[in-house]
């Protein structure tokens, strides 16, 4: 019973990771690639860690698994936020079928205001 549960969980986690990596390969633009990757991989690693906890069924292993999950949940959004901001600042384009871009309008407004004040000075 325990063995079957471990098999199912590890397979599920591997499939989540496979889908995340296939998403990285397939998606057309940078931002959708970023939003596919980080979380699907986190979910897959969660499944595999639960499988490891069930396999060893030990106090120290459970603590380590919780620590790994905690570190990943805390750090991966920070990395995603930083890299998406830098990508936007360095001029990565959105997908060609995108609906709206409200950040671009605001940045243009701000730069217009700045150039106006520079002219007045």
């Amino acid at each position: 019973m325990n063995d079957i549960l471990i098999m199912i969980l590890s397979t599920l986690g591997a499939i989540f990771i496979l889908i995340a990596s296939f998403g990285v390969f397939k998606m057309p633009d940078f931002y959708s690639r970023l939003s596919v990757t980080i979380k699907a991989a986190t979910l897959g690693i969660g499944c595999i860690l639960i499988a490891a906890v069930l396999y060893f069924s030990d106090f120290s292993v459970t603590t380590k698994a919780i620590a790994i999950m905690f570190f990943l949940l805390i750090t991966s959004p920070v990395a995603g936020f930083l890299i998406s901001k830098v990508a936007y600042m360095t001029g990565t384009k959105l997908w060609k079928h995108s609906l709206m871009d409200e950040l671009k309008d605001d940045l243009e407004k701000e730069s217009n205001k700045q150039s106006k004040t520079e002219k007045e000075n």
Partner: protein
């Protein structure tokens, strides 16, 4: 609030020390029992009951968050596996209710962990957040669900 939490932890350790079984199930059992005992003792004092409503809210929020995570993951998965794209991406400007830096950080973490949404930038006065959304059927509807489902519940816990 803090006093009740420390008492609860103390009761948990007393339970674990008395039973002598050092595993997670025993810790959880001791914590739950201490929680209910403290609740019963403190029920008559009105000012002290805030802690006992906050803890269930935190657990409800965690469960809701994992449900959202799974649901959004399957949505993205469908788009990855099928050959054509049916996504409608766009960057939305969202006005936050969160004020302090800690609240903004937690909100950005929550938004980043649900698939399909990525926080791109904050405005300089820390009032607006620019979010890249993958499935943008209706802008107003997206803003309302975000503020009702995630932000209001998060702020209820943190404040």
């Amino acid at each position: 609030m803090l006093q009740n939490f420390l008492l609860n932890i103390l009761l948990t350790f007393v339970w674990v020390a008395l039973t002598g079984q050092l595993d997670y199930a025993n810790f959880l059992f001791g914590y739950t029992m201490g929680f209910f005992i403290l609740w019963m003792v403190n029920r008559s004092i009105r000012a002290n009951t805030e802690y006992f409503y906050r803890v269930p809210k935190i657990f409800a929020f965690i469960f809701l968050f994992f449900y959202d995570l799974l649901k959004a993951n399957f949505e993205v998965m469908k788009d990855v596996v099928t050959p054509n794209y049916n996504m409608k991406p766009g960057i939305v400007k969202y006005e936050m209710d969160a004020k302090t830096d800690f609240e903004i950080t937690m909100l950005a973490n929550m938004i980043a962990l649900t698939p399909g949404t990525v926080v791109i930038d904050l405005s300089k006065d820390k009032k607006f957040m620019y979010i890249h959304v993958m499935y943008l059927t209706n802008k107003e509807e997206f803003k309302i669900t975000l503020s009702n489902r995630i932000e209001r519940k998060l702020l209820e816990i943190l404040r």
